[in-house]
Amino acid sequence: MMSVQEIAHQAEHTAAEAGQKFDASKVIIEHVSNAPEHPLIHLPRIFGIDFSVTKHVFMLWLVAVLVFVVVVWVVRRYLRQDRLVPSGFMNALEFVVEFVRDEIVQPNVGRKWVNTWTPLVLTFFVFILCANGIGLIPIFDVVGLLDHYVLHTAEDSFVKHMIHGGTTATANFNVTAALATVTFGAIIVAGTLAHGFVKHWKNLVPHGMAWPIYIILIPIEILGMFVRPFALTMRLAANMTGGHIAILAILSFVFLFAELFGRAMAGIGVGLVVSVPLAVGISALEIIVVLIQAYVFTLLTAVFIGMAIHVHH
């Protein structure tokens, strides 16, 4: 993420030179980036790695704690009741579990391995869905508004640090890279469990070909092994970042036009006619994207695991 930090710094410099002029790129980058220069909790550097808790780390923990508490609470309540029929939120949870098991895992992994791999894929699905969904809710922007008009906290308080940067944990490439690394490991483990360690690596290339083909084929397959998790990383993070950037860019028109014409009414007019309807439309689109990206990540994980188990050559 070095490049984004550098851009943020450059944007700050140019904004400082231009005085109080509105800079759309600075606003967008500040919202989307992890804002490592404004950590929520300062921690020392260990082995050259900055362990400070930033916005995305905070969101990651929030989502993890939320998912854990809600799911454990609902399932415990269901287990305590004396009848088998689920009620309330447990219905929704059962629907999600059955959907992931029957629609995503079983067609790809097969009946034999479905109970081995459903827990992992289900965890991915619930976590990514919650992280994406919470990213849609402008929590920190509301907190910032509240702070500005009601709370009036001190300059370097916890709340003031919170209102720098974005809110979707899965919009950070490092988070999705970690998730894709788990997929990378799961593919190897799946192949090893199904075929044994040596056979799994032999399965990567087709058998019984003339030897010169292997000179080309083996590097391609090794490259493909790394490209698949990389594509998963980029797809999820870029989709989540893209929605935020699009909404902010469209809402920036209000300030850009107000500045261009030198009066506030021009900005308000553009906002009412163009920006707000378009931003509402993109937000509606984002709700679909949130669901689809959670589905895509889990589906592709299941497909790759299935490919390691059922080798087609």
Partner: protein, 76 residues
Amino acid sequence: MTGLVQFFAIPFGLGMIVIGAGIGIGKLAAAAADGIARQPNAADKITGAVNLPLFLLEGVAILGEVFALLVLFLGK
């Protein structure tokens, strides 16, 4: 040179990515719509079969976009 890359090559590359992904997704959607129109009760199977290549195609498009943006950011 940097200006040329920034103002010509990267938008050109992004446009090519959009054209490629658009052709791919368009062909997929057209074939799927055709199939569903001929065989409406196979709609679920056709949707399922179309989904995976669609996502892989989207992945390639996003990879191209990410690399274009990387060239923009790192090329300065």
